[in-house]
């Protein structure tokens, strides 16, 4: 069923429901009046009770009509919104719900599903089992590397960093350079 057919159907249901509601309300009014007229001098309490019941029925009916109108509005909004955005599509999910989503993403998901369907599951399972063995070895290696690195880090932390600057200074002093007025030489 197309969206326009669907909204048409909703309109039809809405019209029929409104007619029924009007008729029911009219009848209940008449009925209420008849009861009052016929039993005017008999049992006012009973008449009052009956009238209350009728009012309650009317109230429920009006409430239902209000909810129905709201639902029609909501559906109309979605339909209008969809017509403004042609890139939107309706998608039926596996649990039965229908959602409105971007066609671009729906296509992406469908393509991905097609790719997944092509996958050789047995092969993937076999390769995964193989990779587990490798990964176990890698993790063991990493644990030992981590152990050694911590040991090294602890030893080096105790060693001064300033030493490097001193060493650079020494290297500088050892360099032969030109001293103006004195000529080439090394600092003593």
């Amino acid at each position: 069923m197309s969206i326009s057919e669907e909204i048409g159907l909703y309109g039809e249901i809405y019209r029929v429901a409104t007619d029924i509601a009007d008729k029911v309300m009219e009848r209940t009014k008449k009925k209420e009046l008849n009861i009052i007229l016929r039993k005017k001098d008999l049992d006012f309490e009973k008449i009052h009770k009956k009238a209350e019941e009728v009012r309650e029925k009317k109230r429920i009916l009006e409430q239902l009509m209000q909810e129905f109108r709201k639902e029609v509005e909501r559906v109309r909004d979605v339909v209008l919104w969809c017509s403004e955005y042609p890139e939107m599509v309706k998608v039926g999910l596996s649990d039965g719900t229908v959602i409105v989503a971007y066609k671009y993403y729906v296509d992406k998901v469908q393509n991905a599903l097609e790719q997944i369907r092509k996958v050789d599951v047995e092969e993937v399972m076999r390769r995964t089992v193989e990779k587990i063995k490798i990964l176990e070895e890698v993790v063991e290696i990493l644990k030992r590397e981590y152990e050694i690195l911590i040991w090294m880090d602890e030893r080096f932390r105790e060693r001064p960093k300033k030493w490097w600057d001193e060493k650079k200074e020494e290297q500088e002093e050892e360099k032969i350079r030109f001293y103006p007025g004195l000529g080439w030489g090394r600092r003593l």
Binding site: I132, E136, V138, E145, W151, M152, K161
Partner: protein, 74 residues
Amino acid sequence: MNGSWEKTVERMKELMREYSNLKDKVEIFYEALEEHEAVRKPLEGDTAKEYIQLRQELDALRKRREDLEYILHS
């Protein structure tokens, strides 16, 4: 089959988490080690000997690990 496969997948996930966690830590320490080696005073005496031995072991371990990682990611 399904039960055992689920266990396999769970084990794989657990190993991947452990691997990624350790890998991050090790990378940080390798960087720190490079910096230490460049700017700090070298180790001396028995510590230096032990260091050389461990450095060799570390290099071998790293090489082996990188080879295995290549297979893993291929």
